[in-house]
Every structure is written in structure tokens, then in C-alpha cells.
Amino acid sequence: MDYRRRRLSERLRGQLWLAASVGLTVIVQTTLLPTVFNAHLNLVLLAVVCWTLLADVAKGAAIAMYGGLLIDVVGYSPFGSHALALLLVAWLCSLAAERFPPDTWPTSLLLSIGATPLYHLITQMFRGGTDDWLSWAIVVLVPAMIINAIGVLPTFLVLQWWNERQIRH
């Protein structure tokens, strides 16, 4: 009984730390990150991709929920729209992890390039879509895919180092 309670308490503490870290990431993403070539790095999306590959889909889904809901609060978008988009990204990554080596950077690179259009398509649908999808893809999607592809490599390596450190301890 005592063991169960301690385990529950540990898991709760773990989730609180995760929520706080994801919250900090969202705030950094929406306030501090500069815009480069009409796009800015989507740190939460990259965290979902990397943690789903490095740990498991449960961690990726938790980040998607916490991050997505907070993005909606900060950005006043429909509450749950970004969470839904990020959950689908986590699901895509979990499917890919079955077929490709999950703890290697090329998989994370390919998935960040593949997940960015999925995420943007869903959030754009919540905004009512657009009349000109081709121009939207060129102006919004391509820069976002490029900047996320550049950002995923350092993100993956840092999270991989962090994950291995946690496992060792």
C-alpha cells in the first residue's frame, strides 16, 4: 500500500515537472523566439516528435496535451485545437517508431518534416482554411518545415542526452 502510494506520488510529481517544463517551452516559443524567414521554431512540436521517439507515445501524448492546451490559452485559439493537432503528431510518430529505428536522428528529421504539414493543416482547418492552399503551402508551410528540420537535430541530441542521463540514474 505504502509502495503504491509512493509510486503514485512519484508519477504525479513527474507529470507536474513535465507540465511545468512544457509550459515554459510554450512561453519561450510564443514570446522569445525570433521570426526567421517568416517562420519561427515550433519547440513544442519538436518536443512531441523527439520524446515520442526517445521514450514512448505516452510521454509524447502528455507533452501534446499540456503544450497544445497552453498554446490555445496563450493564443486564444479554440481550446483543444493545438492539442488535437499535436496528439495526431504523437500518433504519427508512434506508428513511425514501429517501422524505423526510433532513437536515431534521421528518423526524427524525417518525422519533423512530415509532422509539420499535418500540424499546420489541422490548425489551419480550425481557422477556417484558406482560398489558396498552394500559396499558403509556399509561404507558411515550407519555411516552417525548413526551420523545424534545422531545429530538430540539436533538440533531438539534447533530449537524447537527457533521456540517457535519466535512465542511468
Partner: protein
């Protein structure tokens, strides 16, 4: 913890469960049930996000002026301030001159630029680049309502429209920037037309100013009369058509003659003309905004 090997079904099940929860949250949000919670959370975060946004903008300012000496930077700032004043003065005079020609015939003179404004700070921007929206730290408690125009200026520019209040809670609001593809505002071109008989006059061709950022441009003005004469470099102001017609719509809160930008290209468009509009400045870089809550 899930075991990765062969657990795709369990992963799918978990995602479906969480997606169901999210759909319920979306439905509750649509009904307004969650508004008090989300608004309080946003308000709680406002001091942090406002400070961090100011830090980002201050850093970009510093990097922008890093190649100039401090005396030169001061001189430049003073001159830009003077340019702003002159630009405002010039636009007011030209706008008044243009409207005089028509208003004297109809309703007489009206006081120009008698805006009642509320000052606000930019708190954050949207989390992804596909959306041109900023959050500000003013809400219904400060007199804001959906559709109110938001103006700002950067060094050397006139006070210009940057967007409209899109959503509003008690202490916060979001501003849909005029460059976003969802933004539509009625506009008028302040065109200086050479007229042999009158020795030059000002005409005001009207049209719809649409945001084009997601489509690869900034602003475009459509549905301009084919016969209208104007040229590259002419100023574009709001037309305030909904307000003039006393529509009970958010767009009716936009007064006429709020500066928007300058014509940068003109081309034919079906039975009319369209023009590319260059905003006076990038609405992304402002940190202080003025919301027009009414007119004197």
C-alpha cells in the same frame, strides 16, 4: 509506460482516448463553459509573457541599431520622431482636404482624428507562423469590444492601423493583424490627381483591403473602380463604410481615415483594378498599441 515493441494498438487507443477528451474540451469551449478558466490562466501569465515579449523586441531593436554610434542613433531617433509628426500632420491635412470636397456638399465639416484610445501592450504572438495574431493586455474591463481598430507606429511612420480586435476577454484580447488572410477592411486611396481645370484635386477611390501574408504578400486592395485614377505611392486610409452606413456589425467600429499603408503596385482585376499595399511598418514589431474605443 508503454513498451514500444508491437504496441501500436495501445498507442492508438491512448491517442483516441485523449483525442476524445480534447473534442469534449473543444465543445465546452464553443459553449463558453471554459472561458473563465482560460481567461484567468491567460491573465495570470500576462506579466511573464509581456516581459519576455518586450525582451525579444528590445533585443531586435538593439541588433537593428548595433552598427550606429549612440549619438547617431539618438539623432536618428529624433529625426524619426519628427518624421512621424510630419507624416501624421500631412495625412490629416490631405485627408481633410479630400473629405472637404465631398462633405461640404453633404454633411459639412467634421473634426478629424478625434479618436478616444486605450493604450495597451503586446503580450505574445501566435505559437505558429501560420497565424498573424497578437495578444494584448487590455480587455472588456478597459472598454474593448470585438472589431475595434488597433493602431500603432514605429520610428518614422504615421499612426497606422495594425489590426482589429478579434477576441476579447475581461482583461485580455487578441488582435487579428491586417496582414492576416482573414482580415478585410474597407479602404480608400488618397489619390492626388492632376486636373487641368481645377489645378489638381484629391480623389478617393474605394475598395476592400485584404490581408495577404499567408499568400505571399502583405496587403491587397480589390474591387477598385476601373476608371479610378491613382498612382504608386498614394496613401491608403480606412473608408469606414460600415460605420457610415450605421451597420450593427463589428466592422462598424472602424472609423474612416485611419492610415493603412501606401500603394506599391497597380494592375487590372476583372472589371476593376487592384493594388498592392505596403503597410507603413511590419505590425509584428510593435510593442505598444492604441485601441480606438470611440470618437469624440
Amino acid at each position: 509506460m508503454l513498451n514500444r515493441s508491437g504496441n501500436a494498438q495501445r498507442a492508438t487507443k491512448l491517442i483516441i482516448w485523449l483525442a476524445c477528451i480534447v473534442v469534449v474540451l473543444l465543445l465546452l469551449d464553443q459553449q463558453g463553459v471554459l472561458t473563465p478558466v482560460t481567461a484567468s490562466t491567460a491573465r495570470f501569465l500576462t506579466p511573464v509573457t509581456r516581459t519576455l515579449t518586450n525582451i525579444r523586441l528590445a533585443i531586435s531593436d538593439t541588433f537593428g541599431g548595433i552598427f550606429g554610434s549612440s549619438q547617431a542613433a539618438q539623432d536618428l531617433a529624433a529625426m524619426q520622431q519628427r518624421v512621424t509628426e510630419l507624416e501624421n500632420e500631412n495625412l490629416q491635412l490631405r485627408s481633410a482636404a479630400a473629405e472637404n470636397a465631398t462633405l461640404r456638399r453633404t454633411a459639412g465639416m467634421r473634426e478629424r482624428y478625434g479618436w478616444r484610445t486605450v493604450i495597451g501592450n503586446v503580450v505574445s504572438r501566435s505559437a505558429d507562423a501560420g497565424n498573424r495574431v497578437i495578444s494584448i493586455d487590455r480587455g472588456t474591463a478597459d472598454g474593448l469590444a470585438v472589431g475595434m481598430p488597433v493602431v500603432s507606429h514605429v520610428n518614422g511612420s504615421p499612426d497606422a492601423l495594425i489590426g482589429l480586435v478579434d477576441t476579447v476577454s475581461q482583461h485580455n484580447a487578441t488582435v487579428l493583424l491586417i496582414t492576416d488572410a482573414r482580415s478585410v477592411v474597407s479602404g480608400q486611396v488618397l489619390a492626388q490627381v492632376a486636373n487641368e481645370q481645377e489645378g489638381g484635386s484629391i480623389s478617393q477611390p474605394m475598395g476592400d483591403v485584404l490581408g495577404q501574408w499567408q499568400l505571399g504578400s502583405r496587403l491587397i486592395m480589390r474591387h477598385i473602380d476601373r476608371e479610378a485614377k491613382f498612382k504608386v505611392g498614394d496613401d491608403v486610409l480606412t473608408a469606414g463604410i460600415s460605420k457610415a452606413l450605421a451597420f450593427d456589425a463589428p466592422a462598424a467600429r472602424i472609423p474612416p481615415d485611419v492610415p493603412i499603408g501606401r500603394v506599391s503596385a497597380i494592375r487590372p482585376d476583372g472589371h476593376g483594378q487592384q493594388a498592392d499595399i505596403e503597410p507603413y511598418f511590419d505590425p509584428d514589431v510593435v510593442r505598444t498599441v492604441w485601441i480606438i474605443v470611440g470618437e469624440d
